[in-house]
Amino acid sequence: MASNSSGGSSDRQRIAQQRLRIIAGHLQRPVDGDSAILAAECKAQGSKPDTSREEKTVPRRRQEIMKWNGWGYSDSRFLFNKKGQAEFTGKRYRLSGMIIPGLKDWFECTFGASLQHKTPATPLLNSSAVQPPTLNEAFVEELKSTGIPFSQDAEDRVFRAHGHCLHEIFALREGKFGRVPDMVVWPNCHNDVVKIVELASKHNVCLIPYGGGTSVSSALECPPEETRSIVSLDTSQMNRILWVDEKNLTAHVEAGIVGQDLERLLNESGYCTGHEPDSMEFSSLGGWVATRASGMKKNIYGNIEDLVVHIKMVTPQGVIEKSCQGPRMSTGPDIHHFIMGSEGTLGVVTEVTMKIRPMPEYQKYGSVVFPNFEQGVACLREVARQRCAPASIRLMDNEQFKFGHALKPQVSSIFTSFLDGLKKFYITKFKGFDPNRLCVATLLFEGDREKVLQHEKQVYDIAAKFGGLAAGEDNGQRGYMLTFVIAYLRDLGMDYYVIGESFETSVPWDRVLDICRNVKARIVRECKERGVQFPPLSTCRVTQTYDAGACVYFYFAFNYRGLSDPVHVYEQVEHAAREEILANGGSLSHHHGVGKLRKEWMRETVSNVGMGMLKSVKDYVDPNNIFGNRNLL
């Protein structure tokens, strides 16, 4: 673990390998191109699914590899073993198979939780508890004739009835299902989607596009008032890279591809998009476009709106796309901006042309410890002012620093633990940092080696001006790993009466500190007023920097023992926290989107006229509300 990303010799090795891969990619290109063209020919028949593309992550029956009532892969989860030690199962992650000795104490101390008090989830999906599907027979008949695969199986339907909001997962764990889609279709290509949308319009069927299913805005919830048949349109089988254009550094990709596949496939030919949202293992390209997603490394590569060159979307009125791939146009309001953030209310994004970049030659993690959060924010602000932000720079507050610390896996050697002790001594005793106030920024640098090192120095120099001390690559890397496993941790919490969630906002620089303090304090206060018996975990981090502001992420969790309706309490607190965010000059959302969860604030966010504009677009594009997920408006 310690040697695979750092250390001179292994680096050289790695770079050499990479170059080799890039060259190999070049050599293989014609073949690749062929296969892409082949793939582009729509094989709608789909009789033998998934055998030909084992490299793809998402099968039609997602439940075969993923949890139906929790986050991520079925084989990966946190648990407390018989000795009461936390461990992470599976083989997929760096943390997999490891013991995490500090987690139990942290968990018990932070939440007042106890391993004695368990709240296990319903283990199996009880199909009989799922409403029988309301089918539109004419639609089903015609769909059958197209040969596009579909299913009315209860498990398939339940899987697509939710995102990952707390209340959604909580209900699943209790074996409760509300309105679920009546069937699921798996189009294989753009033309399949065109057919489906035509049929849906013809037979007045409600379509809800489904990409990766990682929504945290209630966007995938079926509106309970919907009386038509609801069809979930799962894009996961539209997952090919159709072509790569090295001259213009673009790739044309089907929108159902999930982040990890896109990156992996591009990496094979030496490229990347650089778009890495925390959910990239499961979230899809189409989903990113539909929610205006943001990636961890946006400082180099940009957010989704910067990455997209061309979008094709199927709407009830037909297909919308631009006629060329010019890098910028002055042709009235950018129609891409009607599509980006439309959250599945206007149509289905089927194909996207995206910018690609050669893979970075060199990557380096880093971290800086600050005596307090205020100094940390000041440093980030200065970094942004000088426009020298690394690929990623994130600042965790003290609580999150402690949390990250609790997730340290068991150290293998006495030497490492001695070194850790020494580090701790140096920072707290010698430098006088208060362990209850200090906070840490994690950094990720990318580029060619020399520039990275230069860049690194520049950033550390700035940090030093704000009292920051370099705290090693390892801490940095662990910080980023945390973002991938934190969703798994929520499931662990829910086994022991702890519920929680994260939410985000963007805010001007001068308000960052204020919003962090006030929202955290509001959460604590609301919990108390609503009868939560234990102090909640209320913590935040600054995850993105911009010229004019930053993105702030809040984590919030509490022990709900003694509450009769914990989800309701949770929702009230989250609601209050959002009001606090808005009152402190924060935005309704930086990248999670609005969905149905934050709809009530849309009008005040975009003004009456803005609302009217959006409505009239919807009315023109989808007058019969075929895309009836009722998000956003």
Partner: protein
Amino acid sequence: MASKAVYSQRDPMLKKRDDFEDILEERRNSSDLRYALRCYAPVVYKGLCPSKAGTLKSMVLQSDQLHYVIHQVCRETGRAVDDVQEEVSSILEEMAHRLQLSTVRFFAFTLSKVFKTLFRSICVNEEGIQRLQQAIQEHPVVLLPSHRSYMDFLLMSYLLYTYDLALPVIAAGMDFMGMKFVGEMLRMSGAFFIRRSFGGDKLYWAVFSEYVKTMLKNGFAPVEFFLEGTRSRTSKSLTPKLGLLNIVMDPFFKGEVFDVSLVPVSISYERILEESLYARELLGVPKPKESTSGLIKARKVLSEDYGSIHVYFGQPVSVRSLAEGRVNRCQFNLIPRHIPKKPSEDIHSFVNDSAYRLVRAQEENMVLKPWVLLASLLLQNQVSGQKRGIALDELTEQAVWLRDLSRQYGAFLHWPEHTPPSEVVSSSLSLHRGLVRISEGRVQLALGQRGPAAPGEPRSAVTPEEELLSQAVIILSCASYRNQALHVFLRPALLASAIHTASSNKKQEVFNSFSFLRNMFSNEFILCPGATVQDFEEACYLLVKTGALQVTQQDVLVTERGHRTLVFLTSMLDPFLQGYQVVCRFLCEEATEALTEKQFIPAVRKFIIKHLLAGRLRYTEVLSSDLQKNSLAALLRLGAVRKIKGAEQGTLKVNTVMVNSLEDTLGGKLPTQKAVIARL
């Protein structure tokens, strides 16, 4: 939650108030020196960034707010930045406190000595202290004491020192700074000085507001100021000033702090040190400029007995909960927060409402002494039959009646429990022997030092006017004690007067009358804006509860046994009614074209003296310039008098028709409806 409870109790009797502890008791039993030198380690605000008074100044000087205003001033006036910056520094120098523990210890020592000689006890509600201690740790705290005496802020700091609480920084009027040595001493005990008026001075305002906000946001110390702006000379609460309240709420509106706790503090004196000083001032003898030598002369007060002081620390009021659902903080999202902006309409009305609520909270926790009731009764019974004054036993009987009534109205009355009423009365009278005289078993106000002159005896050099004024001193002093209880009786008294003036018993008409009077007197008393209906309902509720009134769907009827109550209540308000009428009459009869605001008080005073001497006016109290100013303010507010801006500064233009009709309505000669129309 808790903060709301301060306001919302329907039945004031249900209010549970804390008990008091006498802090002087311990002072009498242990060493003052050891007390002054003891270890002082108060709890502090959890978000405190420790800083010294000096660093505070530089934080203010470096603030974005100030930079912005400095550059704005430079742009507008063409002055050099350095020049303006220098001015800012000197303003700040003039303003800033230099809180020093050693000075505080010095005060702790001397004040212990002084307090012990002046007062029998200083009683504090310790639960309030505990609440305050809690509040100080959680959020920035603003202390809002009532202001009846110079003593107030020394007393506050003394108390906080005694209870090991963070010492406040106090907004004090610049006039104190005139007192050479003392001014500096006060500065070192935490006072910062503000000019009395700086209306148009943008720069001064910026420095001042930034200074206060910086202290508040940093949690440097609790900020203390007087909502009423100045000492009330009449013991009535004054209409709150909004400037400072606006400043301390601003950091909350702008999200710079999570919350701000406002703590109303009610300080009640059994005998006010400045008693006759105030009365003289109200009668037009200008107040002596604060000077050190004046203070030393005031030493003779040391030999007198001033009874006890009660200090009640009220429930901390959270600005956040006050603002919930009332203020949309998003309005501050679109302009950088350091750019000064005039508060919007809704902010202004919110601050105004909050200020009234806070002053009401102060009023409600004011401790009333039996003497307050006696003063009310004595003023109403100056003449009964042929004899002056009132028989002692009758006074006692009436006092007991009033005690019970006031308790039913929710008064915070401190009437000794296990003492016979007659003893309570006589000990109260003896404490105020400067104001009352007992002869032949009758109690009367001590009007005229020599008593009524025997016929034939030369009246020496005393003119009737001078004698009137010297009587007025006693009456106004006495009235100031009665005024302490006004807030208890105000709403029922307005209702009683409304019933009295209304032409019928129809509820609607009584309400109209009530609403008219309330509107008329809203500069005189603390009447929360927009709360007419609530006040009316509260008044009805109290009078019905005590059996004085029957209120049906349509009618308001006075009961047999309610008669006494209603007479008492109307008499309480009568001097004010008459005062306003006489001011109206003056404006109609005597006001010339050239009457300026400045000339108004002396002119109206002359007019009133004339009428008093001629026996056409009943209440000497009407001589109070406070009443005269308030009535003018009311008339200006109602548009019956207008201020002409232009060549002649503050010339008053009187709308005679309207003033006339207002006077008639006040006298019950015109139905309210008409007056309302006339106003429009």
